[in-house]
């Protein structure tokens, strides 16, 4: 299955003055976008960060993608992990290092260096490392080299001055050999690397970080320096998931995906009417927001039900209710979701987002989408994901998620609980990614609470500006006709008006199915927005 985002190949052309610097594409999802094409070709790049931030994996993926996608063989020099550990660690990501080795495309040179075993007496140099590196490069005809991690050498060799001089020579030597190299280093206190190696690497420095905030761990990547090249300067969240690393470049959100003109029904005839008469565009993102108990989940379920009726697959991520609960609740409004589950058209994934990190969450969601291949996806509610991480991270992650779904042509519906006032900011950022925004609210009048629905925004289509009452009935969602008085009449006031209309002395006629007549263009918003 092709999980590569097609837009990653269609990068905007660089200005001419930057075009001269050759780059080696890493093949790592998102990284080539933020580096404007990859790492400096034929030069060393320093990647530093604390233990467990993903340095080794980034290096390995750089080599594996180089071999599989760019025909460039690689050498991995490991001072920390053994060959067997490395192979086992990335097996779950789908990288078969042993096979690449057997095919003569990859050489792994593990050198275990125990500081206690090495004594020093007199002058020395690192010629041994150069020779073994050179032999490995020659053995596979390597264009790419990863050395992981240089910090171990400082632990092993007591003579730091000689080591520094030798590392400087190593970086020059790598450049002379013309290999694109990644050297990893550990983050030090107050300096980028513990031993200040960054001074020797002048071309490209990338910093990885692994932070826990609000009990959610997020990995981030930042390009500190990239001589002679444009690059993104932000901190980008990145994920480690079943397909490897994905950097989340929110600023280069792919907006080049193919767009569809096909329309999908929301499963409620009158709602489709409100959306230009034909429902939403396939591949669009829909946000249903509103306060508690306004029927957001029911709209989401109806949307899935409609997809299944068309014979399409629907994937429902439920963060608050179990599958059984949802199926039972929807049965009470006349929706039989159980049949779709049985037929394999509908799949529920019910988890509490706080149990796993947001990062883990989104990556598993992406994996499920790739596996189940649904045409519609529901995330109910997205506000629960927002509680799983700091809002800035969340919006970056969600951007990626929306992007991921769009690229695959999946129509996504997110529900959002609007009572979370602190989420407003995040919501606004998400709103920019949303194509159709439905607002549901309860209106309080005449001693009743009645539900109302309006279309806040619908990109690329004519849509109704009406606030409509919607009802949860035994036959699912129904959107009531419009009765205008001073404002939209709901509940008993509407029924009274309907009665009056039937008796032949009412106000304007009930809106009939068909293109929605803009009867209520002048209706004050205040009635709906609570």
């Amino acid at each position: 299955m092709n999980t590569e985002a097609p837009h990653s190949e269609k990068r905007p052309a660089l200005p001419a003055e930057f075009g001269s610097l050759p780059k080696a594409p890493t093949g790592i999802d998102g990284l080539d976008e933020v580096t404007e094409g990859g790492l400096p070709r034929g030069r060393p790049t320093l990647i530093c960060g604390p233990a467990g931030c993903g340095k080794t994996l980034l290096g390995l993926e750089f080599l594996v993608r180089g071999i599989t996608e760019h025909g460039e063989n690689g050498v991995f020099v490991a001072f920390e992990e053994t060959r067997e550990d490395l192979i086992a660690n990335v097996e779950s990501l789908g990288f078969d290092l042993a096979q690449l080795e057997a095919d003569g495309q990859l050489a792994i040179d593990h050198v275990s260096i125990e500081p206690t075993e090495i004594e020093q007496s007199g002058e020395w140099d690192l010629e041994g490392l150069f020779i073994r590196l050179g032999a490995s490069i020659d053995a596979v005809g390597a264009d790419r080299v990863v050395i992981d991690t240089i910090e171990n050498l400082f632990g092993a060799f007591p003579d730091k001055a000689t080591l520094r001089a030798e590392l400087r020579r190593l970086f020059r030597w790598l450049k002379d050999r013309g290999v694109t190299a990644i050297i990893t280093g550990e983050r030090g206190d107050g300096s980028l690397t513990r031993h200040g190696i960054e001074e020797y690497v002048s071309d490209c420095v990338i910093v990885l970080d692994h932070r826990v905030s609000e009990e959610t761990s997020t990995r981030r990547l930042r390009i500190l320096k990239y001589r002679g090249s444009l690059h993104g300067t932000n901190e980008y969240p990145f994920l480690i998931h079943r397909g490897g690393i994905t950097v989340v470049p929110i600023t280069s959100l792919g907006i080049e995906h193919d767009v569809s003109g096909e329309r999908l029904s929301m499963g409620v005839a009158r709602l489709d009417e409100m959306l230009g008469g034909r429902g939403v565009l396939r591949g669009s993102s829909i946000l249903v927001s509103g306060t508690a108990g306004t029927g957001k989940s029911t709209i989401a379920a109806q949307f899935c039900d409609a997809a299944c009726r068309r014979g399409e697959r629907a994937l429902y991520f439920a963060f608050e209710e179990s599958e059984a609960q949802i199926v039972r609740n929807m049965a009470s409004v006349g929706m039989d979701l159980g049949q779709w589950v049985e037929q394999g058209l509908l799949k529920f994934t019910c988890v509490r987002p706080s149990l796993a990190g947001l990062e883990a969450h989104l990556s598993s969601m992406q994996a499920l989408v790739a596996e189940f291949n649904p045409s519609v996806v529901v995330i109910d509610p997205i506000s629960d994901l927002l509680t799983a991480g700091a809002s800035r991270d969340v919006s970056a992650m969600l951007t990626r998620q929306v992007d991921f779904l769009k690229v695959r042509g999946v129509t996504a519906l997110f529900t959002s609980l609007d009572q979370h006032l602190q989420l407003e900011e995040a919501n606004h950022q998400i709103a920019a990614l949303i194509d159709v925004w439905l607002l549901v609210a309860t209106q309080k009048a005449n001693g009743e609470r009645n539900r109302s629905l309006s279309v806040l925004k619908a990109r690329g289509m004519a849509h109704s500006n009406q606030i409509r009452e919607f009802l949860l009935t035994e036959r699912g969602i129904e959107i009531a006709g419009i009765h205008r008085f001073e404002e939209v009449l709901t509940g008993s006031a509407r029924i009274a008006q309907e009665e009056a209309h039937r008796r032949g002395n009412g106000g304007p006629a009930e809106a009939s199915p068909g293109p929605a007549p803009e009867l209520v263009a002048g209706v004050p918003r205040a009635g709906g927005a609570q």
């Binding site: 050198v111 090495i118 020395w124």
Partner: protein
């Protein structure tokens, strides 16, 4: 008690004295430090190991495969493979005391020097 402990120590020392040493010296070509290392290694072997040794000299430029199979990064490096534990001694071996210490040779030399 004391006697047996002493006897045991003497037996151990005797065993050490008769133990064979397998050493490999990795050098790179004709660099000055490599030449010094070869000279110093040979001197240590002749003076302190008295023929109980097997010293192999590897020029990593000539035999890169040998270094790839080892854990050596620096040159010159003297590796003591036998007796265990394996030790690595980096440098031109100009500090004789350190070399003997690293090779566990001094322990053998000291008592016999006192006995003489």
């Amino acid at each position: 008690m004391v006697d047996t402990a002493l006897e045991r120590l003497e037996a151990a020392l005797a065993k050490l004295e008769s133990e064979r040493y397998e050493l490999t010296l990795f050098v790179s070509g004709a660099s000055a430090s490599s030449e010094r290392a070869i000279r110093n290694a040979k001197a240590v072997c002749d003076l302190h190991l008295g023929g109980r040794h097997d010293l192999r000299i590897v020029d990593v430029n000539q035999e890169p495969d040998l270094i790839r199979g080892s854990r050596v990064l620096a040159t010159p490096t003297l590796v003591k493979e036998i007796p265990a534990p394996e030790r690595m001694l980096v440098g031109d071996l100009s500090d004789r005391e350190r070399v003997l210490l690293a090779l566990d040779v001094r322990v053998v030399e000291k008592p016999s020097a006192e006995a003489a």
